[in-house]
């Protein structure tokens, strides 16, 4: 069973600040981390490796320093890692990113000499953009089924199918799909393991192959800033909402409370 896990290096949003004048994210001094939901995706893959002998390949798109998270993933137990890195893909929106990654998925399969990956795992979203669009976009580009927000995954390798407990706001949906399938992971799926020291030492020396936009045969009109139909106009910190006023009903006197409310609304010319 061949599994591909898409991972992203993200700024630690717990530390991120926004420049109040330029409305951009201040990246200086902010540590980069392994996107937490992608760690859940990797853990799911590693459990399939431990229990069912799956092969686990990592893929990321980003600047060369994104190799840090790929190495962390290798130290956790992944078998191989590839990085799609090219100035041409910089500034891609979610549509362009999904396209680039789908192209890379096909290229990595080709490099590995396999027809396709049986399962592609992604985090449900990256904690920097929080769009939750890239995983599903990859599935669309590849024309394969997608199961989002997985809180439990069961794989039947013989029957080549998966059974996934999908989390949503009301509860769970049990969804089944055949290989190849793309699944996105939520935090509840598992608890990611820690890298081992031996793994860290070995990963440090691993060469991580780089792929360019040309390598993955990406159509230049569909990638990067110019190939992205959406543009970010502004990033800002929403003003903090001031606490609302609660007017309690005292001594069962509803009318008095309503009167107080009306008085305040009128005074502020809201009604």
């Amino acid at each position: 069973m061949e599994i591909l896990v898409c991972v992203k290096q993200v700024p630690d949003t717990a530390e991120v600040k926004i420049d109040p004048v330029k409305h951009t994210v201040i990246r200086a001094g902010v540590p980069n981390i392994f996107n937490p939901f992608d760690q859940n995706a990797l853990e799911a893959a590693l459990q399939l490796k431990d229990n069912q002998g799956a092969k686990v390949t990592l893929l990321s798109m980003g600047p060369p320093q994104a190799k840090d998270v790929l190495r962390e993933g290798l130290a956790m137990g992944a078998d191989e890692a590839y990085l799609l890195t090219d100035r041409k893909v910089g500034g891609s929106d979610t549509l362009a990113t999904g396209y680039c990654l789908a192209q890379a998925v096909k290229k990595v399969a080709e490099l590995k000499g396999i027809e396709q990956f049986d399962i592609i795992l992604c985090g449900k979203q990256a904690i920097d953009g929080d769009t939750a669009q890239v995983g599903p976009q990859i599935a669309c580009e590849l024309g394969i089924p997608q199961i989002t927000y997985a809180a439990a995954i069961e794989v039947n390798e013989e029957a080549k199918c998966v059974k996934v407990k999908q989390q949503n706001e009301e509860g769970y949906i049990i969804t089944e799909a055949n290989f190849p399938v793309l699944i996105t992971a939520v935090k509840e799926l598992n608890e990611p393991r820690f890298p081992t020291i031996r793994g860290t030492m070995k990963a440090k020396r691993r060469e991580i192959p780089e792929l360019s936009a040309d390598d993955v045969k990406a159509d230049e009109t569909k990638i990067g800033l110019s190939g992205s139909p959406t543009k970010v106009r502004k990033i800002f910190t929403p003003p903090q909402r001031t606490q609302g006023l609660i007017i309690p009903v005292e001594d069962d006197n509803d009318q008095a409370a309503v009167d107080t409310l009306m008085e305040k609304l009128t005074a502020q010319k809201i009604i």
Binding site: R71, A75, R193, F194, P195, T196, I197, R198, T200, M201, K202, K204
Partner: protein, 383 residues
Amino acid sequence: MDFKLNDLQKDIVKTVHDYCEKKIKPDIGERDHAGDFGEEHVKALMQDMGIAGIYYPEEYGGMGNDGGDVLTYILCVEEIAKYDAGMAATVSASISLGTNPIWQYGTEEQKKKYLEPLVTGEKLGAFCLTEPGAGTDAAMQQTTAVKDGDHYILNGNKIFITNGGKADTYIVFAMTDKSKGTKGISAFIVEKGWEGFTFGKKEDKLGIHTSQTMELIFQDVKVPAENLLGEEGKGFIIAMQTLDGGRIGIAAQALGIAESALDDAVAYSKERVQFGRPLCKFQNVSFKLADMKMKIEAARLLVYKAAEAKQAGGRFSLEAAIAKRMASDIAMEVTTEAVQIFGGYGYTEDYPVARHMRDAKITQIYEGTNEVQLMVTSGFLLK
């Protein structure tokens, strides 16, 4: 001279840091109170993560050939001590004291049988020298080992044994020839569970509550002759050289405790308001913090230097003795000042600074009291 850690060392410390932050930080208060050893953390750190084998060679299951070195191991002890000083004692007692002598003095058979499972973290080790009448005066060993055919018969008591009861493999020192004094002491590898080997009192200590300290009782324990470590009469040298290495671990533990206390004091001094301003706005407090930082950085250099000296091979007794005394004295000073900055709150167990102060004290005492470190150091000067 290079004062920078390499990328690999930084990555490994980060892994240990992440584990401690996520797993140990939430339960240390409770475990310290209950005297809970934290078996699952020991396994996770020693075996799953692999701290036990960092600087031991590949052929025995270690990572010494992959870039693991003594300093990396020391950095791990320091990081663990920031969160749980007792756990740092557990780890260091097994790796430095319980494992190192087998690597250094063991036969190939002993290494295959005992070293490998210690290096892979599958088993835990302990070092047993101290007796009721033989503390700093370690030569006054009363435990005896009498040769009887292909066995030695071991009799006696050991006290204050870190990992006592928890460890699987014990390095035990005993007199094989009382007439020869220190040259009559020999070292043995003893397994938990052997007939006649039992555990006595579990010590109720001032600090490092999560480390288990026990008395060991040997009553006619049959130790196979092949479990003699090194030669007969070499025990005292083995003990002293092993302690040199152990001292660097204790120095790292002290360093970690001090750093943690300073971090807590800095954070508290920014929050706590008296006379209308945070404590850190009083020069008396901010200068105190600055002094604590200066001392910690001085200790750090000595501790790392001692680790590098051990890595380089040859003798490092002087570096280890100086580092241990300096780091432990500084840990005591810094943790005491931290409690002072916290004031009344610092004296309660509601904040971790009280624990840091209790934990710091042992680092001035064990692995040779600080007075022993002065003996070692002055011995070098006056030889």
